[in-house]
């Protein structure tokens, strides 16, 4: 590992000044589970900025009006242990509780998972279907970007030089709604997704018809994908409409444009996009019914 400086700013403003003073080779440290691994693999930085002293970056709070706020440096285990997340955002439990190991979950963060911008990241699909947004701080103040618009390519996001992700905001779930995330990995833990999928639905008051639906898939394109056609295929359909669900799956398969690598093949990933989309939709409907 090459030598670098370390700073632990106490505020967003202090972090922004450190960022603007740096020459660009800066590593933002939250849980370190991606950054430190990358440094060991040869990534070179001049400055490591540890976000964990910044209150906004470590806060985890919920408000009925504004929803859930997840500080970018909040570890996964804090998120899935939070009672509000357990009761209102089970899809966030799904994704945060299967990243890496318990050891990784005690360090790794949703913010880091976003900023690392791996196509196979496990938290973006769930945040996307829940309508989450990314709160980004920069020299010119704060801006919000929809989660599905945050990613621009493998390892690439909309973050500009001098900016950093402060928190992720997730709206309060509607009544009669449910969301679900799952992934496929060859082992039962400790793997990168071959493919993953999340779905959210809002049902009518008697819980028989889908009023709103969002589907997102990952690891099958350069970025996580919000599949608008999949959601559209479900809206207005009965919860047990197999044809509608199959149409959504077909939309996911059609949108997937994966690569073959040591983790999976193109054919396998396209196929899994459909399989996981169906399982995610069914899981989301089930949760909405139980809500």
């Amino acid at each position: 590992m090459n030598a670098f400086d370390y700073a632990a700013p106490q505020s967003v403003d202090e972090a922004i000044s450190l960022l603007s003073a740096g020459n660009g080779n800066i590593g933002m440290l939250a849980g370190g589970t991606d950054l430190i691994a990358q440094l060991k693999e040869g990534r070179k930085i001049d400055l490591m900025i540890d976000l964990k002293q910044i209150p906004e970056a470590t806060a985890l709070s919920f408000d009925e009006d504004s929803g859930l706020s997840i500080g970018a440096a909040t570890p996964c285990s804090k998120i899935y242990s939070y009672d509000v997340v357990q009761s209102r955002y089970p899809a966030l439990v799904d994704c945060t509780s299967l990243i890496g190991s318990i050891q990784i979950q005690n360090r790794g963060t949703v913010g880091g998972n976003f900023c690392n911008a791996s196509p196979a990241a496990d938290t973006p699909p769930a945040v996307i279907v829940l309508g989450g947004t990314c709160r980004i701080a920069g020299p010119n103040g704060t801006r919000e970007v929809a989660a599905e618009d945050f990613f621009t390519g493998p390892g690439q996001s909309v973050l500009q030089s001098g900016e950093f992700l402060v928190s992720i905001q997730v709206p309060t779930p509607a009544a009669n709604s449910g969301a679900f995330f799952l992934r496929f990995i060859p082992r039962n833990e400790m793997d990168i997704a071959v493919a993953n999928a999340a779905a959210s639905v809002v049902l009518d008051s008697d819980k028989t018809t889908i009023q709103e639906a969002r589907v997102a898939i990952g690891a099958v394109a350069p970025t996580p994908l919000l599949i608008a056609d999949a959601g559209a295929a479900l809206v207005g359909k009965a919860v047990d409409d197999e044809d509608a669900i199959e149409a959504a799956c077909a939309a996911s398969r059609a949108a997937a444009r994966p690569i073959s690598d040591m983790r999976g093949t193109i054919e396998q990933r396209i196929h899994l996009s459909g399989v996981l989309t169906r399982r995610a939709i069914q899981g989301a409907i089930q949760r909405a019914k139980e809500s």
């Binding site: 590992m1 090459n2 670098f4 370390y6 440290l29 691994a37 890496g100 190991s101 318990i102």
Partner: protein, 158 residues
Amino acid sequence: MPGKVHVTTTINGESVEFLCEPRQTILEVLRDQLDLTGTKEGCSNGNCGACSILVNGEVIDSCLMMGVEAEGQEITTIEGVASADGLHPLQQKFLEHAALQCGICTPGFIVAAKALLDQESDPSEERIRLYLAGNLCRCTGYDKIVRAVQDAASEMAE
């Protein structure tokens, strides 16, 4: 070259100060500077759990935490698991159940299992397997490890 950072932390109940370069992981500091070599390095990127330590009671991979991050934290390593009264029940049960062969993964497993049993007194087999999935063992096939943790949990519950 950037200077070294002065870090004050608590390790196994003792206040400890050390100087480290920002690029040194806490694993490197523990092993190479503080002589706490019971924490092992198996993969160096968070995939084997051999370097598991507790930070404020939560198990983490020490290969993926920088030394400078230890400032103000409470760290427990395998060397801090047994007490003057003797072995921790997990350590005793690992011995009784033959839950170690080569022993290189054992400190990590015991530290991780301690984190589990400190939080949950009666974990199911499934829960134990999930909790310990970040600790690789290549010798035992895990059977005796899981049984040792189950037995330790029962004994600690008594």
